[in-house]
Symmetry: C2
Subunit: 137 residues, 2 copies
DNA sequence: CTTGACCTTAGAGTCTACTCCAAGCTTTAT
DNA sequence: ATAAAGCTTGGAGTAGACTCTAAGGTCAAG
């Protein structure tokens, strides 16, 4: 069990952020100590890792909340509903991956083309690198 | 040459957004008509595509501005400086790709594992899917 | 047994990235 | 020729995601 400050340190986020996420129903501490302190367990840690990763690749907290609430059970969502929603997200993620790979290629091109040789290149920007990638695509 | 409204339509953004980017030095229209209207060309269009893509995969406008200003020339940055900066970004992008692939695997797992069979799964969440992926990683 | 670090809540403040509004000029359609 | 649509600027307003402040309770170390 981690106190809020301990979890925050492990994750390199602020305690305020953790309380903010709780307030907005992304993650609440599994239980509380008798003194009222929040107590987080390893599952909470895992969820936070997920949130941080998802945020890093461009998902909003609302989207992340939706993803976290994805559960197949009789009361809430049917299997088909979850499947449809998830497949949509899957397509989004695949698109992001494609774009990142393209992005990566541009950067790689910039490093190689502009700084590969001995002499200094004088007119070498991310945009001219992108131009080439766009031409290929 | 596109007027601001035309470019906005092509890109599915608002004219306000284009003016906002100009104000914050991400992209200014290449020239102006005699009446003062902004006129954008295909290069501007290309830059906007880059901005939109970069934003979609989690880069902030400031980071994007930095990327766009990457140019190798004597006055501003040396080849080595650009190379170092770009390689850092490259690592960031590679990390994002790894995370997205992992993310994708989780979602795939959710679709397959929870909705593959005929009967309804009752305890099937993105988190249990993630648990498996984490176990592999 | 008190000092300092850490915890609580409630609420205010900040930064980013838009988004909207007002007042006025230009262009296009009827 | 006049109205609607689109452009200009400057500035205000908003949503999302924190971040900070105040006022107070808890706990380990000296």
């Amino acid at each position: 069990m981690y106190k809020i400050g301990e979890l925050a340190k492990i994750l390199s986020v602020s305690t305020d952020t953790l309380r903010y996420y709780e307030k907005h129903n992304l993650l609440s501490a599994t239980n509380r100590a008798e003194n009222g302190y929040r107590l987080y367990n390893n599952n909470d840690l895992r969820i936070m890792h997920f949130i941080i990763r998802a945020k890093g690749v461009g998902f909003s907290l609302n989207e992340i909340k939706e993803l976290l609430s994805l559960k197949v059970d009789k009361e809430s969502h049917s299997c088909d509903e979850v499947k449809t929603f998830t497949e949509q997200k899957l397509m989004q993620v695949e698109k992001k991956i494609t774009e990142l790979v393209r992005f990566k290629d541009s950067l790689q091109l910039l490093v190689n083309a502009c700084c590969g040789g001995d002499e200094e290149a004088t007119n070498c920007s991310i945009l001219s690198a992108l131009e080439n990638v766009d031409a290929i695509t």
